[in-house]
Symmetry: C2
Subunit: 184 residues, 2 copies
Amino acid sequence: MAALYIALLHFPMRNREGQVVVTALTSLDVPDIARTARTYNVKKFYIVHPVESQRRIAMRLRDFWVSEEELPTRREALELVAIREDLEEVYQEIAQEEGVPPLVLGTTARAHLLPYPKLAWEEARRISGERPVLVLFGTGHGMTDELLAACDALLPAVRAGGYNHLSVRAAVAIILDRLKGEEP
Amino acid sequence: MAALYIALLHFPMRNREGQVVVTALTSLDVPDIARTARTYNVKKFYIVHPVESQRRIAMRLRDFWVSEEELPTRREALELVAIREDLEEVYQEIAQEEGVPPLVLGTTARAHLLPYPKLAWEEARRISGERPVLVLFGTGHGMTDELLAACDALLPAVRAGGYNHLSVRAAVAIILDRLKGEEP
């Protein structure tokens, strides 16, 4: 089984007006997405933030749950969390760990509106069973076009035709379920 | 298209030791689950809590987002939120609105361990297209057996064979996606 990695990014993101910003860490993302990652056998959940004080907060949240002996299921999930400064570092680390660079898949509610390469769900499921994959998730109003353009491919938007303003916590859950479902 | 309703319950729930408790409202459940509900065309998202002060908090959160003119996508989602004291009230309200009582589906990570009627996903998808359905979601360590026994049927647990300790925010997202996917 090929390794699946996910990364939650906080820069460069868009704000409501489309400007490029750094977003703040949302505390609940740490245990919520860690538990979803553990559920779908994700190998590592990277929280990527360029600001050191924000990385320290993420680290304290992670360490709190990892040291909490009475909640072993939380510990088991939070042990998957790694906090890094930038995406390049994450990419290199995975390449070294796996002996081959991961295929980088971007996610955005605007996938159908963008001129970048896309993978259908079925194809994404097949590929993620065959080689290491890193799925990127944005925060705020999503990743900038420049960042999405640098991905190997984008995953389809969830329910692109209608209201698509899911929280990142819900989007990670749906996308990992669409990629892995009940598969080991 | 038949109406789909969801309810987030806070009593009677189990705590870590299996005792029956009332759980506290988690603030982020309100906008997170409302946005997921809106995404999957849920007709109403009921937050059910027996304690008046907790209902007041939920109402203030709802009203804050509904009055926030600069975030119309939040308002559109939060308008689906209704706050009620008990499940019976929710059931009667839906029966009156729809002219027929809803089929009540329970959700639990322990579905495969319990002797209550279950629906396969395919069957649940078909039924939810044909008649009004109310899907119940628990908090804390999940709904009591008595409450699950009173449901018409249970939905299958998500990834029952492995780690299944999803946040309720993630569980709602995955379960609504499995019921509706890309369907209108």
